[in-house]
Amino acid sequence: MPIFDQGYQHWSGHLSGRAWRWLAVTRQGIRGGLKNRFLRYVLFAAWVPALALVLMLCMWGLLERRSSLASTFMQYYMALLQPGVVADPQHYRADIWRLSYGYFLEIELRFSMVLILLVGPNLISQDLRFNALPLYFSRPLRRIDYFLGKLGVILAFLGMVVIVPSIVAYVLGLLFSLDITIIRDTFGILLASVAYGLILTFSAGMLILALSALSRSSRYVALCWVGIWLVSGIVATVLQAVDSQQRRYVYYNKMTVARPNGRDFDNLSRAERDKQWRAYRQARERAAEEYRVAELGFSAHDWRPLVSYTENLSRLGQQLLGTDQTWKRLSLLDPDQDARDQLLATYMGPQYPWYWSAGVLTGLFGLSACVLNLSVKSLDRLK
């Protein structure tokens, strides 16, 4: 037939199985997210810490091999770290890697919160606003596919900034060290950071999905997210500060040297005045050091950090990576007990049991799942 029918054509092609339906939702979400140029900027910026991590690991590898390149940076190493560590790089390899990953994950946690702020609120609330749910559920798509698809969007973006850089940095660090025994020492770190990435995705992802499903306006959802992220952090800090200030005064009150004051003081000679000030300052520093060390012990029972959402995630990350043990090992380099205590008090994170944080996060996860279940109903009850 020379003239072809331009009307409706039938189609019988391949339809994929049920298991992959969520992928279509994820792809669409990613496409929509990437249209936002602020998101692209933040993604770009989030790779800077990743670069820093790669740089750190590679340089450590060079240091281990005593390559010429590393010697040029030796002065920086000396400045950053204690000489004992630089002298025996291989022994402290796992510790340095652990610490590097620890700082990296802390920074990427903040970036993740910003990414979720940019891409998360629209996920379900836009569908509610434009009434897209009948279109979704009149197709062979179950609710679970829909939720998994949306969660997949969060997984994609957070994976891009947390999981992928972790793996890439690990591989590059491996290549720069050219030492296969690294894997035995540090594989746990890779697993821990990937696990952390997954925990972050599922926890924060479910939370933002639940918030997004509660409102048609993505602006309110974004505000709620800022509330959970920043405001809860501020509240926790305030609570902690209030509490610790009270304890601080106990230590200051125990000082035997009083603050130089009064008419008698003014009448003294200059040298005498300076001597008294110095004594006072030393006593104060002493008190501050004692206070800090005591705080470390006190934080084992402190529930206040649980109020901050990001603090919970950090605590789990700290536990997974085992940075506390690292600091303890590093502190052993210093012969002086006091100096060791000060180091630990400065660098170690909060000491409350990790399962408290895990409990809080699990509770939030469960709550989010309930909210999602109730608010996104299938077409049974939709108008």
């Binding site: 994929s16 249209k35 434009f130 279109l135 979704y136 009149s138 197709r139 077409l379 049974d380």
Partner: protein, 312 residues
């Protein structure tokens, strides 16, 4: 009119004793109906259970009692499979947000399981068919009502369903748009072998597209059948409209033994037994009248509907 394509079931869908209650309200009350394939109109007053029945057919809601099948598949157990073969264009305005038209339709196809390349190719084909030309590259929020309805229709047929369910498709459209959508529906039903379930309150629309209707009321089936058969023809009754002076014409006719009833500007004339319309022409010629309208009296679809409702 049932199509006999190879392998296609002649029964479109079938419900057996289906009951569904929402708390105190009974939406479907022991409903049993068997419907042949073709273009089916679904009529019923508000609250009669039409929406519930559509949702039951799509397998979206669990029923309290009863069973049934759509296109040969049990809707209690094979819901996802049913939705692969059925396209649904819902009533209210619904959109996938912030995408262009062609992306919208392609996404709709991907959600059914099409591969993304297949979905894109098919989206363009289907958009050609519904008549959205260059507009398909614009964002869907900028579309007019008519375009949105056509887009919805396109997204419902992108996976080539065997049954297309349309819920008030001409809602809020201007006459041109309505005409186009009805033409598309007619074409799909009559020429392309797709079965249609057309739910609407606008009876002329239903009449323009469908051949068979089901009337629901209070969750029960009130009437079903072929439209032409339901509209009874009264053999000796005619509707007549003349140019002017219908009273004199009416008097003249009743003198000849006809029973006349005037309605608006039309006369309902019942001619005596044994006579034919010839006597009307004779009367017109004698009285120098122009008969401008002469048809056998047939009940309209509205009358069929109202009668079915009264019978409950």
């Amino acid at each position: 009119m049932a199509y006999e394509s190879s392998g296609e079931p002649r029964t479109l869908f079938q419900l057996d004793g289906v009951t569904k209650t929402y708390g105190a309200v009974t939406a479907l009350d022991d409903l049993s109906v068997t419907v042949p394939s073709g273009a089916i109109g679904l009529l019923g007053p508000n609250g009669s259970g039409k929406t519930t029945m559509i949702r039951t057919l799509l397998g979206l809601i669990p029923v309290d009692a009863g069973s049934g099948q759509v296109l040969g598949m049990d809707f209690l157990h094979r819901q996802l499979n049913i939705r692969r073969e059925v396209g649904f264009a819902p009533e209210n305005e619904c959109l996938f947000p912030a995408v262009e038209g062609v992306q919208f339709v392609a996404y709709a196809g991907e959600l059914v399981g099409m591969r993304s390349k297949d979905a894109m190719q098919r989206a363009h084909e289907v958009l050609d068919y519904v008549g959205l030309g260059e507009a398909r590259y614009r964002k869907v929020e900028s579309y007019s009502t008519g375009m949105k309805q056509r887009l919805k229709l396109a997204s419902a047929i992108v996976h080539d369903p065997k049954l297309l369910i349309l819920d008030e498709p001409t809602n809020g459209m201007d006459p041109d748009g309505r005409e186009e959508v009805l033409q598309l529906c007619r074409d799909l039903a009559r020429n392309k072998g797709m079965s249609l379930l057309f739910s609407s309150h606008l009876l002329p629309d239903v009449e323009a597209v469908c051949d068979y209707i089901i009337v629901l009321g209070n969750g029960k089936l009130l009437a079903q059948g072929n439209i032409q058969q339901l509209k009874q023809v009264h053999n000796q009754c005619f509707e007549v409209r003349v140019k002017a002076g219908s009273e004199t014409f009416a008097q003249g006719l009743s003198a000849l033994g006809c029973v006349i009833e005037a309605r608006d500007d039309v006369l309902l004339v019942q001619i005596p037994k044994g006579e034919s319309p010839r006597m009307l022409w004779r009367a017109a010629a004698e009285q120098n009248q122009q008969i401008r309208y002469l048809r056998s009296q047939r009940s309209t679809l509205e009358e069929v509907f109202l009668k079915a409702l009264e019978q409950k």
